[in-house]
Protein backbone atom coordinates (compact mmCIF):
# COMPACT_ATOMS: atom_id res chain seq x y z
CA UNK A 1 0.00 0.00 0.00
CA UNK A 2 3.10 2.18 -0.06
CA UNK A 3 3.24 4.18 -3.25
CA UNK A 4 -0.40 4.47 -3.95
CA UNK A 5 -1.80 5.68 -0.61
CA UNK A 6 -5.32 4.56 -1.15
CA UNK A 7 -8.18 3.71 1.13
CA UNK A 8 -9.44 0.35 -0.01
CA UNK A 9 -12.07 -0.09 2.64
CA UNK A 10 -15.64 1.02 2.14
CA UNK A 11 -16.41 -0.86 -1.07
CA UNK A 12 -18.34 -3.59 0.71
CA UNK A 13 -21.26 -1.46 1.83
CA UNK A 14 -25.04 -1.54 1.54
CA UNK A 15 -27.10 0.42 -0.93
CA UNK A 16 -29.37 1.85 1.76
CA UNK A 17 -31.82 3.27 -0.76
CA UNK A 18 -32.88 -0.26 -1.74
CA UNK A 19 -33.28 -1.62 1.77
CA UNK A 20 -36.54 -1.49 3.71
CA UNK A 21 -36.73 0.65 6.86
CA UNK A 22 -36.49 -2.48 8.96
CA UNK A 23 -33.42 -3.66 7.04
CA UNK A 24 -31.75 -0.26 7.34
CA UNK A 25 -32.35 -0.35 11.09
CA UNK A 26 -30.91 -3.85 11.26
CA UNK A 27 -27.81 -2.87 9.25
CA UNK A 28 -27.25 0.15 11.50
CA UNK A 29 -27.74 -1.94 14.61
CA UNK A 30 -25.02 -4.36 13.51
CA UNK A 31 -22.76 -1.42 12.54
CA UNK A 32 -23.34 0.24 15.92
CA UNK A 33 -22.86 -3.11 17.59
CA UNK A 34 -19.42 -3.42 16.01
CA UNK A 35 -18.55 0.12 17.04
CA UNK A 36 -19.68 -0.52 20.61
CA UNK A 37 -17.77 -3.82 20.80
CA UNK A 38 -14.62 -2.15 19.50
CA UNK A 39 -14.88 0.46 22.23
CA UNK A 40 -15.59 -2.01 25.00
CA UNK A 41 -13.00 -4.54 23.91
CA UNK A 42 -10.17 -2.22 22.85
CA UNK A 43 -10.98 1.30 23.94
CA UNK A 44 -12.06 4.40 22.08
CA UNK A 45 -9.14 4.68 19.59
CA UNK A 46 -10.06 1.30 18.11
CA UNK A 47 -13.46 2.62 17.02
CA UNK A 48 -11.79 4.79 14.42
CA UNK A 49 -11.10 1.63 12.47
CA UNK A 50 -14.78 0.86 12.05
CA UNK A 51 -15.59 -0.05 8.43
CA UNK A 52 -18.60 -1.13 6.42
CA UNK A 53 -16.56 -4.05 5.14
CA UNK A 54 -16.19 -5.62 8.57
CA UNK A 55 -19.86 -4.85 9.24
CA UNK A 56 -20.60 -7.04 6.21
CA UNK A 57 -18.40 -9.77 7.67
CA UNK A 58 -20.25 -9.56 10.99
CA UNK A 59 -23.60 -9.93 9.21
CA UNK A 60 -22.32 -12.77 7.03
CA UNK A 61 -20.86 -14.83 9.86
CA UNK A 62 -23.90 -14.06 12.01
CA UNK A 63 -26.12 -15.37 9.25
CA UNK A 64 -24.04 -18.52 8.81
CA UNK A 65 -23.72 -19.41 12.48
CA UNK A 66 -26.81 -17.70 13.97
CA UNK A 67 -25.16 -17.14 17.35
CA UNK A 68 -26.93 -15.72 20.40
CA UNK A 69 -27.30 -12.01 19.91
CA UNK A 70 -27.22 -9.33 22.53
CA UNK A 71 -29.43 -6.37 21.66
CA UNK A 72 -30.18 -3.10 23.33
CA UNK A 73 -29.65 0.60 23.11
CA UNK A 74 -26.72 2.73 24.14
CA UNK A 75 -25.43 6.25 23.83
CA UNK A 76 -22.19 6.49 21.94
CA UNK A 77 -19.58 9.17 22.56
CA UNK A 78 -19.83 10.95 19.19
CA UNK A 79 -23.62 10.97 19.29
CA UNK A 80 -24.53 11.20 22.98
CA UNK A 81 -27.92 12.82 22.55
CA UNK A 82 -29.69 9.85 21.05
CA UNK A 83 -30.02 6.23 22.06
CA UNK A 84 -28.74 3.92 19.34
CA UNK A 85 -29.95 0.38 18.86
CA UNK A 86 -27.25 -2.20 18.65
CA UNK A 87 -26.93 -5.92 18.07
CA UNK A 88 -23.80 -7.91 18.87
CA UNK A 89 -22.65 -11.51 19.11
CA UNK A 90 -19.44 -13.54 19.18
CA UNK A 91 -19.14 -12.78 15.46
CA UNK A 92 -19.00 -9.09 16.35
CA UNK A 93 -16.17 -9.84 18.78
CA UNK A 94 -14.29 -11.56 15.98
CA UNK A 95 -14.91 -8.72 13.53
CA UNK A 96 -13.67 -6.26 16.15
CA UNK A 97 -10.48 -8.29 16.57
CA UNK A 98 -9.89 -8.27 12.82
CA UNK A 99 -10.68 -4.56 12.63
CA UNK A 100 -7.94 -3.79 15.12
CA UNK A 101 -5.40 -5.84 13.17
CA UNK A 102 -6.27 -4.08 9.92
CA UNK A 103 -6.34 -0.56 11.30
CA UNK A 104 -3.08 -1.11 13.15
CA UNK A 105 -1.31 -2.08 9.94
CA UNK A 106 -2.97 0.72 8.01
CA UNK A 107 -1.60 3.21 10.53
CA UNK A 108 1.88 1.77 10.29
CA UNK A 109 1.61 1.87 6.54
CA UNK A 110 0.38 5.46 6.42
CA UNK A 111 3.15 6.51 8.79
CA UNK A 112 5.70 4.81 6.52
CA UNK A 113 4.30 6.41 3.35
CA UNK A 114 3.08 9.79 4.25
CA UNK A 115 4.76 10.48 7.59
CA UNK A 116 1.47 11.70 9.01
CA UNK A 117 2.28 12.23 12.66
CA UNK A 118 -1.30 11.54 13.71
CA UNK A 119 -0.84 8.01 12.37
CA UNK A 120 2.28 7.46 14.44
CA UNK A 121 0.42 8.44 17.59
CA UNK A 122 -2.51 6.35 16.61
CA UNK A 123 -0.38 3.29 15.91
CA UNK A 124 1.12 3.73 19.36
CA UNK A 125 -2.34 3.72 20.94
CA UNK A 126 -3.29 0.61 19.05
CA UNK A 127 -0.14 -1.40 19.63
CA UNK A 128 -1.30 -2.94 22.88
CA UNK A 129 -4.68 -3.77 21.39
CA UNK A 130 -2.97 -5.36 18.44
CA UNK A 131 -0.80 -7.46 20.78
CA UNK A 132 -4.00 -8.78 22.34
CA UNK A 133 -5.44 -9.65 18.93
CA UNK A 134 -2.20 -11.37 17.97
CA UNK A 135 -2.52 -13.60 21.02
CA UNK A 136 -6.07 -14.53 20.08
CA UNK A 137 -5.46 -15.00 16.37
CA UNK A 138 -1.75 -15.54 15.71
CA UNK A 139 -2.20 -17.32 12.39
CA UNK A 140 -4.49 -14.69 10.97
CA UNK A 141 -2.29 -11.81 12.06
CA UNK A 142 0.66 -13.50 10.43
CA UNK A 143 -1.24 -13.82 7.14
CA UNK A 144 -2.38 -10.18 7.27
CA UNK A 145 1.16 -8.99 7.89
CA UNK A 146 2.67 -11.26 5.22
CA UNK A 147 0.19 -10.29 2.55
CA UNK A 148 0.48 -6.57 3.23
CA UNK A 149 4.27 -6.89 3.04
CA UNK A 150 4.03 -8.86 -0.20
CA UNK A 151 1.72 -6.21 -1.59
CA UNK A 152 4.16 -3.48 -0.61
CA UNK A 153 7.01 -5.29 -2.33
CA UNK A 154 5.02 -5.68 -5.55
CA UNK A 155 3.96 -2.06 -5.58
CA UNK A 156 7.43 -0.77 -4.82
CA UNK A 157 8.82 -2.93 -7.60
CA UNK A 158 6.10 -1.47 -9.85
CA UNK A 159 5.07 -4.98 -10.81
CA UNK A 160 3.00 -4.82 -13.99
CA UNK A 161 0.80 -7.77 -13.07
CA UNK A 162 -2.51 -6.57 -11.66
CA UNK A 163 -3.47 -10.08 -10.70
CA UNK A 164 -0.43 -10.62 -8.49
CA UNK A 165 -1.18 -7.58 -6.34
CA UNK A 166 -4.91 -8.28 -6.30
CA UNK A 167 -4.04 -11.83 -5.30
CA UNK A 168 -2.28 -10.61 -2.14
CA UNK A 169 -5.31 -8.67 -1.06
CA UNK A 170 -7.48 -11.64 -1.96
CA UNK A 171 -5.44 -13.92 0.28
CA UNK A 172 -5.68 -11.39 3.08
CA UNK A 173 -9.45 -11.11 2.86
CA UNK A 174 -10.00 -14.83 2.54
CA UNK A 175 -8.14 -15.33 5.79
CA UNK A 176 -10.42 -12.83 7.53
CA UNK A 177 -13.51 -14.63 6.28
CA UNK A 178 -12.67 -17.95 7.91
CA UNK A 179 -13.93 -17.66 11.46
CA UNK A 180 -13.91 -21.38 12.19
CA UNK A 181 -12.19 -24.33 10.54
CA UNK A 182 -15.28 -26.18 9.40
CA UNK A 183 -17.06 -27.41 6.28
CA UNK A 184 -17.81 -23.84 5.17
CA UNK A 185 -14.17 -22.80 5.10
CA UNK A 186 -13.60 -23.35 1.38
CA UNK A 187 -16.68 -21.40 0.43
CA UNK A 188 -15.83 -18.55 2.80
CA UNK A 189 -12.32 -18.47 1.33
CA UNK A 190 -13.72 -18.31 -2.19
CA UNK A 191 -16.01 -15.45 -1.17
CA UNK A 192 -13.31 -13.56 0.70
CA UNK A 193 -10.74 -14.08 -2.03
CA UNK A 194 -13.05 -12.82 -4.77
CA UNK A 195 -14.08 -9.79 -2.73
CA UNK A 196 -10.47 -9.00 -1.85
CA UNK A 197 -9.38 -9.13 -5.49
CA UNK A 198 -12.41 -7.07 -6.56
CA UNK A 199 -11.64 -4.38 -3.95
CA UNK A 200 -8.03 -4.09 -5.05
CA UNK A 201 -8.80 -4.00 -8.76
CA UNK A 202 -11.80 -1.67 -8.49
CA UNK A 203 -9.72 0.68 -6.39
CA UNK A 204 -6.85 0.53 -8.90
CA UNK A 205 -9.19 1.39 -11.76
CA UNK A 206 -10.81 4.19 -9.75
CA UNK A 207 -7.34 5.70 -9.15
CA UNK A 208 -5.90 5.07 -12.60
CA UNK A 209 -6.48 8.55 -14.04
CA UNK A 210 -5.12 10.26 -10.97
CA UNK A 211 -2.07 7.97 -10.89
CA UNK A 212 -1.46 8.57 -14.59
CA UNK A 213 -1.45 12.36 -14.05
CA UNK A 214 0.89 12.07 -11.08
CA UNK A 215 3.15 9.51 -12.67
CA UNK A 216 2.39 7.12 -9.81
CA UNK A 217 2.47 3.40 -10.20
CA UNK A 218 -0.85 1.81 -11.09
CA UNK A 219 -1.11 -1.92 -11.78
CA UNK A 220 -3.73 -1.31 -14.47
CA UNK A 221 -1.67 1.27 -16.38
CA UNK A 222 -1.01 -1.12 -19.28
CA UNK A 223 -4.58 -2.27 -19.60
CA UNK A 224 -6.48 -1.34 -22.75
CA UNK A 225 -9.89 -1.43 -21.14
CA UNK A 226 -11.58 1.67 -19.75
CA UNK A 227 -13.61 1.69 -16.53
CA UNK A 228 -16.88 0.70 -18.19
CA UNK A 229 -15.33 -2.23 -20.08
CA UNK A 230 -13.46 -3.20 -16.95
CA UNK A 231 -16.79 -3.80 -15.25
CA UNK A 232 -17.17 -7.11 -17.08
CA UNK A 233 -13.71 -8.21 -15.92
CA UNK A 234 -14.66 -7.29 -12.37
CA UNK A 235 -17.79 -9.44 -12.62
CA UNK A 236 -15.60 -12.35 -13.76
CA UNK A 237 -13.49 -11.85 -10.63
CA UNK A 238 -16.68 -11.87 -8.56
CA UNK A 239 -18.20 -14.92 -10.26
CA UNK A 240 -16.71 -17.60 -8.04
CA UNK A 241 -17.27 -15.46 -4.94
CA UNK A 242 -20.91 -15.05 -5.83
CA UNK A 243 -21.43 -18.78 -6.41
CA UNK A 244 -19.72 -19.56 -3.13
CA UNK A 245 -21.95 -17.05 -1.32
CA UNK A 246 -25.11 -18.50 -2.84
CA UNK A 247 -24.02 -21.99 -1.84
CA UNK A 248 -23.98 -21.07 1.86
CA UNK A 249 -27.13 -21.86 3.88
CA UNK A 250 -27.93 -18.26 4.67
CA UNK A 251 -31.40 -17.23 5.70
CA UNK A 252 -31.05 -14.48 8.33
CA UNK A 253 -30.29 -11.04 6.85
CA UNK A 254 -29.80 -12.59 3.41
CA UNK A 255 -31.49 -9.72 1.56
CA UNK A 256 -29.16 -7.21 3.18
CA UNK A 257 -26.17 -9.39 2.34
CA UNK A 258 -27.26 -9.70 -1.29
CA UNK A 259 -27.91 -5.95 -1.47
CA UNK A 260 -24.29 -5.43 -0.42
CA UNK A 261 -22.81 -8.01 -2.80
CA UNK A 262 -24.81 -7.14 -5.88
CA UNK A 263 -25.54 -3.45 -5.53
CA UNK A 264 -23.73 -1.68 -2.71
CA UNK A 265 -20.41 -3.14 -3.85
CA UNK A 266 -20.54 -0.89 -6.95
CA UNK A 267 -21.43 2.40 -5.25
CA UNK A 268 -17.89 3.60 -4.67
CA UNK A 269 -16.71 2.39 -8.09
CA UNK A 270 -19.60 4.02 -9.94
CA UNK A 271 -19.00 7.33 -8.20
CA UNK A 272 -15.28 7.21 -8.95
CA UNK A 273 -15.45 6.28 -12.62
CA UNK A 274 -18.57 8.09 -13.79
CA UNK A 275 -17.98 11.80 -14.27
CA UNK A 276 -20.37 13.90 -12.21
CA UNK A 277 -22.67 15.91 -14.51
CA UNK A 278 -21.12 19.25 -13.46
CA UNK A 279 -17.54 18.23 -14.19
CA UNK A 280 -16.00 19.44 -17.41
CA UNK A 281 -14.77 16.71 -19.70
CA UNK A 282 -10.99 17.05 -19.98
Amino acid sequence: MKERGHNMFGYVQANLKDLSEEEQARYRAVYCGLCRTLGRRYGAPARMGLTYDLTFLTLLLGSLYEPEEETGTFRCLPHPWREHEYAASECTDYAADMTVALVYFKCLDDWEDERKFSRKIYAGWLKRSYEKVKELWPGKCRVIEDQLNALSRLENARDPSPDAAAGCFGKLMEELFVYRADRWEDRLRALGNGLGRYIYLADAMADRERDRRRGSYNPLADLDAGPEDFRSTLTVVLGGASQAFESLPLVQDVHILRNILYSGLWLKYNRAVRPAPQKEKV
Binding site: N7, F9, N15, L16, K17, D18, Q24, R28, Y31, M48, G49, L50, P78, H79, W81, R82, H84, D110, S118, R119, Y122, S161, P162, D163, A164, A166, G167, G170, K171, R183, D186, R189, A190, R197, L220, L223, D224, S232, T233, T235, V236, V237, L238, G239, G240, S242, Q243, A244, E246, S247, P249, L250, V251, R258, Y262, S263, W266, L267, K268, R271
Partner: protein, 250 residues
Protein backbone atom coordinates in the same frame (compact mmCIF):
# COMPACT_ATOMS: atom_id res chain seq x y z
CA UNK B 1 -23.58 -41.57 -0.69
CA UNK B 2 -27.19 -41.03 0.37
CA UNK B 3 -29.93 -41.75 -2.11
CA UNK B 4 -32.52 -39.07 -1.63
CA UNK B 5 -31.25 -35.75 -0.33
CA UNK B 6 -34.73 -34.19 -0.53
CA UNK B 7 -36.15 -36.84 1.77
CA UNK B 8 -33.36 -36.25 4.31
CA UNK B 9 -34.07 -32.52 4.26
CA UNK B 10 -37.82 -32.97 4.23
CA UNK B 11 -38.42 -30.89 1.10
CA UNK B 12 -40.10 -31.71 -2.23
CA UNK B 13 -37.74 -32.69 -5.11
CA UNK B 14 -38.46 -29.44 -6.93
CA UNK B 15 -37.65 -27.28 -3.90
CA UNK B 16 -35.83 -24.03 -4.65
CA UNK B 17 -32.51 -23.10 -3.06
CA UNK B 18 -34.04 -20.81 -0.44
CA UNK B 19 -36.35 -23.60 0.73
CA UNK B 20 -33.43 -26.04 0.89
CA UNK B 21 -31.43 -23.56 2.98
CA UNK B 22 -34.31 -23.04 5.41
CA UNK B 23 -34.75 -26.79 5.78
CA UNK B 24 -31.03 -27.19 6.41
CA UNK B 25 -31.06 -24.56 9.15
CA UNK B 26 -34.08 -26.12 10.82
CA UNK B 27 -32.41 -29.55 10.93
CA UNK B 28 -28.99 -28.21 11.89
CA UNK B 29 -30.56 -26.57 14.94
CA UNK B 30 -31.79 -29.99 16.01
CA UNK B 31 -28.73 -32.12 15.36
CA UNK B 32 -25.80 -29.73 15.67
CA UNK B 33 -22.87 -31.48 17.43
CA UNK B 34 -22.55 -28.57 19.89
CA UNK B 35 -26.00 -29.50 21.18
CA UNK B 36 -25.26 -33.23 21.34
CA UNK B 37 -21.67 -33.69 22.44
CA UNK B 38 -20.40 -37.28 22.31
CA UNK B 39 -23.55 -38.48 20.61
CA UNK B 40 -22.49 -40.58 17.59
CA UNK B 41 -26.05 -40.85 16.30
CA UNK B 42 -26.44 -37.06 16.18
CA UNK B 43 -23.04 -36.78 14.49
CA UNK B 44 -24.04 -39.33 11.87
CA UNK B 45 -27.30 -37.56 11.27
CA UNK B 46 -25.53 -34.21 10.93
CA UNK B 47 -23.18 -35.69 8.30
CA UNK B 48 -26.19 -36.97 6.43
CA UNK B 49 -27.85 -33.56 6.56
CA UNK B 50 -24.66 -31.87 5.33
CA UNK B 51 -24.31 -34.30 2.45
CA UNK B 52 -27.98 -33.92 1.57
CA UNK B 53 -27.55 -30.15 1.52
CA UNK B 54 -24.62 -30.28 -0.92
CA UNK B 55 -26.42 -32.74 -3.18
CA UNK B 56 -29.71 -30.85 -3.21
CA UNK B 57 -27.93 -27.57 -3.97
CA UNK B 58 -26.00 -29.11 -6.89
CA UNK B 59 -28.02 -31.94 -8.39
CA UNK B 60 -26.13 -32.08 -11.73
CA UNK B 61 -22.68 -32.08 -10.11
CA UNK B 62 -23.52 -34.91 -7.80
CA UNK B 63 -24.99 -37.02 -10.55
CA UNK B 64 -21.84 -36.43 -12.61
CA UNK B 65 -19.57 -37.15 -9.63
CA UNK B 66 -21.34 -40.41 -8.92
CA UNK B 67 -20.91 -41.38 -12.57
CA UNK B 68 -17.23 -40.39 -12.52
CA UNK B 69 -16.57 -42.37 -9.36
CA UNK B 70 -18.01 -45.41 -11.03
CA UNK B 71 -15.83 -44.86 -14.09
CA UNK B 72 -12.73 -44.54 -11.92
CA UNK B 73 -13.48 -47.79 -10.18
CA UNK B 74 -13.64 -49.48 -13.56
CA UNK B 75 -10.36 -47.80 -14.65
CA UNK B 76 -11.93 -45.29 -17.05
CA UNK B 77 -10.08 -42.48 -18.82
CA UNK B 78 -11.45 -39.84 -16.49
CA UNK B 79 -9.20 -41.12 -13.74
CA UNK B 80 -6.03 -40.45 -15.69
CA UNK B 81 -5.85 -36.70 -15.20
CA UNK B 82 -3.56 -36.56 -12.19
CA UNK B 83 -4.34 -34.30 -9.27
CA UNK B 84 -1.07 -32.42 -9.08
CA UNK B 85 -1.61 -29.93 -11.87
CA UNK B 86 -5.30 -29.63 -11.23
CA UNK B 87 -6.11 -25.97 -11.18
CA UNK B 88 -7.47 -25.05 -7.84
CA UNK B 89 -8.30 -21.43 -8.17
CA UNK B 90 -6.71 -18.40 -6.56
CA UNK B 91 -5.98 -19.03 -2.93
CA UNK B 92 -5.85 -22.79 -3.42
CA UNK B 93 -9.47 -23.75 -3.05
CA UNK B 94 -11.22 -26.11 -5.44
CA UNK B 95 -14.33 -24.36 -6.56
CA UNK B 96 -15.83 -27.15 -8.58
CA UNK B 97 -17.60 -28.69 -5.63
CA UNK B 98 -20.40 -26.23 -5.47
CA UNK B 99 -20.56 -23.93 -8.38
CA UNK B 100 -18.69 -22.34 -11.21
CA UNK B 101 -15.19 -23.70 -11.37
CA UNK B 102 -12.18 -23.18 -13.56
CA UNK B 103 -12.15 -26.96 -13.66
CA UNK B 104 -15.24 -26.94 -15.81
CA UNK B 105 -13.56 -24.66 -18.27
CA UNK B 106 -10.45 -26.76 -18.65
CA UNK B 107 -12.33 -30.00 -18.61
CA UNK B 108 -10.87 -31.47 -15.45
CA UNK B 109 -14.27 -31.30 -13.81
CA UNK B 110 -16.93 -33.84 -13.42
CA UNK B 111 -18.27 -33.44 -16.90
CA UNK B 112 -14.93 -34.54 -18.29
CA UNK B 113 -14.13 -34.15 -21.95
CA UNK B 114 -17.65 -33.22 -22.98
CA UNK B 115 -17.58 -29.93 -21.12
CA UNK B 116 -14.26 -28.84 -22.49
CA UNK B 117 -14.33 -25.66 -24.49
CA UNK B 118 -13.03 -26.08 -28.01
CA UNK B 119 -9.69 -24.29 -28.10
CA UNK B 120 -9.13 -24.61 -24.38
CA UNK B 121 -6.76 -27.40 -25.30
CA UNK B 122 -4.59 -25.69 -27.91
CA UNK B 123 -3.23 -27.76 -30.77
CA UNK B 124 0.13 -27.07 -32.47
CA UNK B 125 -0.09 -25.61 -35.94
CA UNK B 126 2.41 -26.11 -38.80
CA UNK B 127 3.78 -22.54 -38.58
CA UNK B 128 4.34 -22.65 -34.83
CA UNK B 129 7.88 -21.89 -33.66
CA UNK B 130 9.51 -24.38 -31.26
CA UNK B 131 8.92 -22.12 -28.21
CA UNK B 132 5.22 -21.96 -29.08
CA UNK B 133 5.06 -25.73 -29.30
CA UNK B 134 6.61 -25.98 -25.85
CA UNK B 135 4.11 -23.46 -24.51
CA UNK B 136 1.26 -25.56 -25.92
CA UNK B 137 2.64 -28.67 -24.27
CA UNK B 138 2.86 -26.88 -20.92
CA UNK B 139 -0.68 -25.53 -21.16
CA UNK B 140 -2.09 -28.94 -21.97
CA UNK B 141 -0.18 -30.41 -19.05
CA UNK B 142 -1.63 -27.78 -16.72
CA UNK B 143 1.81 -26.26 -16.14
CA UNK B 144 0.62 -22.71 -16.51
CA UNK B 145 3.43 -20.97 -14.69
CA UNK B 146 6.01 -22.44 -17.09
CA UNK B 147 3.84 -21.52 -20.05
CA UNK B 148 3.48 -17.92 -18.86
CA UNK B 149 7.23 -17.67 -18.33
CA UNK B 150 8.06 -18.92 -21.82
CA UNK B 151 5.53 -16.60 -23.36
CA UNK B 152 6.92 -13.53 -21.63
CA UNK B 153 10.32 -14.32 -23.12
CA UNK B 154 8.97 -13.86 -26.62
CA UNK B 155 9.66 -10.24 -27.64
CA UNK B 156 6.77 -7.94 -28.50
CA UNK B 157 7.58 -8.20 -32.21
CA UNK B 158 6.55 -11.84 -32.02
CA UNK B 159 3.29 -11.23 -30.21
CA UNK B 160 0.50 -11.92 -32.64
CA UNK B 161 -3.10 -12.94 -32.03
CA UNK B 162 -2.01 -16.52 -31.39
CA UNK B 163 0.49 -15.35 -28.79
CA UNK B 164 -2.28 -13.45 -26.99
CA UNK B 165 -4.62 -16.45 -27.22
CA UNK B 166 -2.06 -18.81 -25.64
CA UNK B 167 -1.04 -16.23 -23.07
CA UNK B 168 -4.67 -15.74 -22.11
CA UNK B 169 -5.11 -19.47 -21.56
CA UNK B 170 -1.95 -19.75 -19.50
CA UNK B 171 -2.85 -16.74 -17.38
CA UNK B 172 -6.40 -17.95 -16.88
CA UNK B 173 -5.07 -21.26 -15.67
CA UNK B 174 -2.89 -19.45 -13.18
CA UNK B 175 -5.77 -17.36 -11.87
CA UNK B 176 -4.58 -14.15 -13.51
CA UNK B 177 -8.10 -13.23 -14.47
CA UNK B 178 -7.54 -9.59 -15.42
CA UNK B 179 -4.67 -10.37 -17.76
CA UNK B 180 -6.42 -13.39 -19.22
CA UNK B 181 -9.53 -11.46 -20.15
CA UNK B 182 -7.50 -8.51 -21.45
CA UNK B 183 -5.28 -10.76 -23.56
CA UNK B 184 -8.12 -12.80 -25.02
CA UNK B 185 -9.81 -9.51 -25.95
CA UNK B 186 -6.64 -8.47 -27.76
CA UNK B 187 -6.53 -11.82 -29.58
CA UNK B 188 -10.08 -11.24 -30.78
CA UNK B 189 -9.21 -7.69 -31.85
CA UNK B 190 -6.15 -8.84 -33.79
CA UNK B 191 -7.96 -11.75 -35.46
CA UNK B 192 -11.65 -10.86 -35.56
CA UNK B 193 -12.60 -13.77 -37.78
CA UNK B 194 -11.30 -16.40 -35.40
CA UNK B 195 -14.31 -18.08 -33.84
CA UNK B 196 -12.25 -20.00 -31.30
CA UNK B 197 -10.96 -16.81 -29.74
CA UNK B 198 -14.47 -15.33 -29.56
CA UNK B 199 -15.89 -18.48 -27.99
CA UNK B 200 -13.16 -18.62 -25.40
CA UNK B 201 -13.64 -14.98 -24.48
CA UNK B 202 -17.29 -15.85 -23.96
CA UNK B 203 -16.31 -18.78 -21.77
CA UNK B 204 -13.98 -16.62 -19.70
CA UNK B 205 -16.87 -14.28 -19.14
CA UNK B 206 -19.15 -17.05 -17.93
CA UNK B 207 -18.13 -16.46 -14.36
CA UNK B 208 -19.22 -12.87 -14.85
CA UNK B 209 -22.53 -14.08 -16.20
CA UNK B 210 -23.00 -16.24 -13.13
CA UNK B 211 -22.48 -13.11 -11.03
CA UNK B 212 -24.93 -11.12 -13.12
CA UNK B 213 -27.57 -13.86 -12.91
CA UNK B 214 -27.27 -13.86 -9.13
CA UNK B 215 -27.42 -10.06 -9.18
CA UNK B 216 -30.77 -9.91 -10.93
CA UNK B 217 -33.11 -7.53 -9.17
CA UNK B 218 -30.23 -5.58 -7.64
CA UNK B 219 -29.02 -2.25 -8.95
CA UNK B 220 -25.39 -2.51 -10.05
CA UNK B 221 -25.43 1.02 -11.41
CA UNK B 222 -26.34 2.76 -8.14
CA UNK B 223 -24.37 5.86 -7.22
CA UNK B 224 -26.06 7.35 -4.16
CA UNK B 225 -23.76 7.02 -1.21
CA UNK B 226 -25.82 7.37 1.95
CA UNK B 227 -23.99 7.85 5.18
CA UNK B 228 -25.15 5.41 7.77
CA UNK B 229 -24.53 7.80 10.63
CA UNK B 230 -26.35 10.66 8.93
CA UNK B 231 -29.51 8.65 9.04
CA UNK B 232 -29.44 8.80 12.80
CA UNK B 233 -28.29 12.28 13.61
CA UNK B 234 -27.79 15.68 12.08
CA UNK B 235 -24.41 16.41 13.60
CA UNK B 236 -21.39 14.76 12.09
CA UNK B 237 -18.87 15.14 14.85
CA UNK B 238 -17.96 11.49 14.68
CA UNK B 239 -17.35 11.84 10.99
CA UNK B 240 -15.30 15.00 11.34
CA UNK B 241 -13.24 13.44 14.11
CA UNK B 242 -12.70 10.46 11.87
CA UNK B 243 -11.76 12.61 8.94
CA UNK B 244 -9.17 14.32 11.10
CA UNK B 245 -7.55 10.95 11.32
CA UNK B 246 -8.39 10.26 7.73
CA UNK B 247 -10.63 7.32 8.40
CA UNK B 248 -13.88 7.26 6.61
CA UNK B 249 -16.01 5.15 8.90
CA UNK B 250 -19.18 6.50 7.37
Amino acid sequence: MIDDPYKVLGVPPNAGQDEIKKAYRRLAKQYHPDLHPDDPEAARKMNEINEAYDMAMNPEKYAARRAQQQRQYTGGAAGQQSGQNRYQGPGGWASSDWGFGFDDFFGFGFGGAQQQAAGARPQPEPQDAPEIRRVITYINAGQYQEAVYLLTRIPSTGRNARWYYLSALANYGQGNTVQAVDQMQRAVQMDPNNQTYRQLLQQFRQAGQAYERNAQGFDMQAMDLQKICLGLCAAQCCCSACSMFGFRCC
